[in-house]
């Protein structure tokens, strides 16, 4: 998980795209994922992202890791939707008959509920894949420059990319804290029950948050000392330029999003 937002150098066509083209693609896909209600369209969206992931030469093991990390949330979605979605086609009949007031019908699992949970899961997976697809294939300074050239104020763009940069750093710090706890025979995160883990989290999170705040304060001193935000006319030693291929990819992204949105309404 620690490298999910970190740049992995590569020479594929997707790597070479202008960051703005990739950011527009990301925004369009995210937008479509939010409106899509059709299972087949959601499945096609996810498959397209996996295909691009593969074409960009990114390790499939990372995708598997991402899938594993989402298993808990997806299982929760299935349980909740299967039991609570107001469907008609019962796969499992209710434990308590429907005629009982208030609690009648509890335990009924419907086909509609299962399909809705599947739809939500596909949308969720597409959403969590699309951001790393862009951040892993774009050096962070070019990602930042892309945001700035799209009109985002430098300060905001910098905050966004710094947040992305901090994820692996915080992950590493959390590992150090966990190791320090293990050295003092603290094994709740390996052997404890769910409730024990829940109770133990403050011991992990408190030093992590304090450390992060201290780091942020020192970073602010270092940035101030190097004139961060001194002028609106900031210059850049490296600039980006849209080429024909980038415009073509944006065109493809718009058409793709429009097709997905249209099919979402056409396919019943």
């Amino acid at each position: 998980m620690s490298t999910l937002v970190q740049y992995i150098p590569g020479q594929t066509a997707f790597h070479r795209l202008d960051p703005r083209a990739k950011i527009i693609f990301m925004l369009l896909v995210t937008g479509v994922v939010f409106i899509v209600q059709n299972l087949w369209v959601a499945g096609a969206l996810l498959l397209t992202l996996i295909l691009i992931w593969s074409l960009a030469g990114l390790p499939m093991s990372m995708l598997k890791g991402l899938g594993k990390a989402m298993v808990g949330i997806i299982a929760f979605l299935f349980v909740v939707q299967a039991l609570l979605y107001p469907g008609e086609t019962a796969l499992i009949r209710p434990i308590i008959p429907s005629r009982v007031p208030l609690i009648g019908g509890v335990g009924k699992v419907t086909l509609e509920g299962i399909l809705f949970a599947l739809l939500l899961s596909l949308r969720l997976l597409a959403t969590v894949i699309v951001l790393p697809l862009v951040t892993i294939t774009t050096p962070v300074h070019l990602f930042l420059l892309g945001l700035v050239r799209m009109g985002l104020p430098y300060r905001w763009a910098y905050t966004t990319t710094t947040a992305l940069n901090l994820i692996p750093i915080l992950q590493a710090e959390a590992n150090v804290i966990a190791d320090a706890q293990r050295l003092r025979a603290f094994q709740v995160f390996e052997k404890g029950s769910f409730l024990e883990k829940l109770r133990a989290y403050p011991a992990l999170v408190t030093p992590l948050v304090i450390g992060a705040m201290r780091r942020a304060q020192l970073m602010a001193v270092a940035m101030d000392s190097r004139a961060f935000g001194a002028t609106r006319d900031r210059t850049y030693i490296q600039d980006i330029r849209m080429r024909a291929g980038d415009w073509a990819f944006i065109g493809f992204s718009v058409l793709y999003a429009a097709l997905a949105a249209t099919l979402n309404y056409l396919i019943v």
């Binding site: 940069n165 270092a222 000392s225 004139a227 900031r234 210059t235 030693i237």
Partner: protein
């Protein structure tokens, strides 16, 4: 003490306390640092060294908040009136932790970060960046990721990043405290070189007595926010009573000389470096036989 060059830093009766605290981190500091001096700031933890360093480029009190009395003028700019960005062109600062002050993906972009913020022309930035990397011995490292460098290299990169702003003063706030002996010598050597070759004024908060003795012109001793002593490294390290009171450690050879003095055996010219101690001991043995 008289000094041939003009004052670069004037600290005029400065007291400062952080927000939400009653205790003053700096108390009635009064001192002058001249152009081209290499000044060490010594003191135990909590003595006010970092606060003093950050006051020199206006981060204290402008970014940190709190209340400051008195006045600090650096390169003609009042640190409470000029912006931190203006001051950044007069004072470069290198912090203790290499990780928190390097935030880009390559050495070149790290060094370019400051001038880019000032809106300097890209060609001029590249020229400055190459010069700064060369000055700290990192020419050829332009495309290296800062995270892949050693501790000493990271601090040298942080120095280069400060140099690219063309400051007149370089402040190092415990910049070698997290480094191994090799890294420490690397940083001190580069700083000495910059001081000698380019006349850069250096203010270095540190507790490394051996290097202070070897490289610095003058020592300021802070204790509980006050300037309790200042003088040459020899004057400071020979004052055993002062060192004990403010809990700072002299170089080992100076400790040996103090120990021998306590037993009525003085080395000629109180030694602060290994060479001086060797000469003193050779002379002492010669006199005995």
């Amino acid at each position: 003490m008289t000094h041939p060059s003009e004052p670069t830093i004037i600290v005029d009766d400065v007291s400062y306390r952080y927000p939400r605290t009653k205790r003053y981190a700096l108390r009635h500091l009064d001192l002058t640092i001249h152009r081209g001096e290499f000044v060490a700031v010594l003191g135990e933890n909590g003595a006010g060294k970092s606060t003093f360093c950050q006051a020199l480029n206006g981060v204290v009190p402008q970014s940190r908040g709190g209340r400051m009395r008195g006045r600090i003028v650096v390169g003609g700019l009042d640190t409470q009136q000029a912006t931190v960005a203006e001051l950044a062109q007069k004072v470069g600062i290198v912090l203790e932790d290499p990780e928190t002050q390097l935030f880009t993906t390559s050495a070149l972009s790290e060094v370019a970060f400051g001038p880019e913020n000032l809106g300097v022309d890209p060609e001029e930035i590249l020229r400055r960046a190459r010069w700064a990397l060369k000055a700290v011995g990192l020419a050829g490292y332009e495309d290296h990721a800062p995270t892949a460098l050693s501790g000493g290299q990271k601090q040298r990169l942080a120095i280069a990043a400060a140099l690219a702003m063309h400051p007149a003063v370089l402040v190092l706030d415990e910049a070698t405290s997290q480094l191994d002996p090799m890294g420490t010598v690397e940083v001190f050597s580069v700083v000495r070189e910059l001081n000698g070759q380019y006349g850069l004024t250096i203010v270095m908060a540190t507790n490394k007595g051996e290097q202070v003795a070897q490289f610095c012109d003058r020592v300021l001793v802070l204790h509980d926010g006050e300037l309790v002593a200042q003088g040459t490294p020899r004057e400071i390290f020979a004052d055993a009573e002062l060192l004990g009171r403010v809990m700072i450690r002299a170089p080992q050879v100076s400790q040996l000389a103090t120990y021998l003095e306590g037993r009525d055996t003085s080395l000629a010219d109180f030694p602060i470096t290994l060479d001086e101690a060797r000469q003193g001991i050779v002379q002492l043995i010669g006199e005995a036989y």
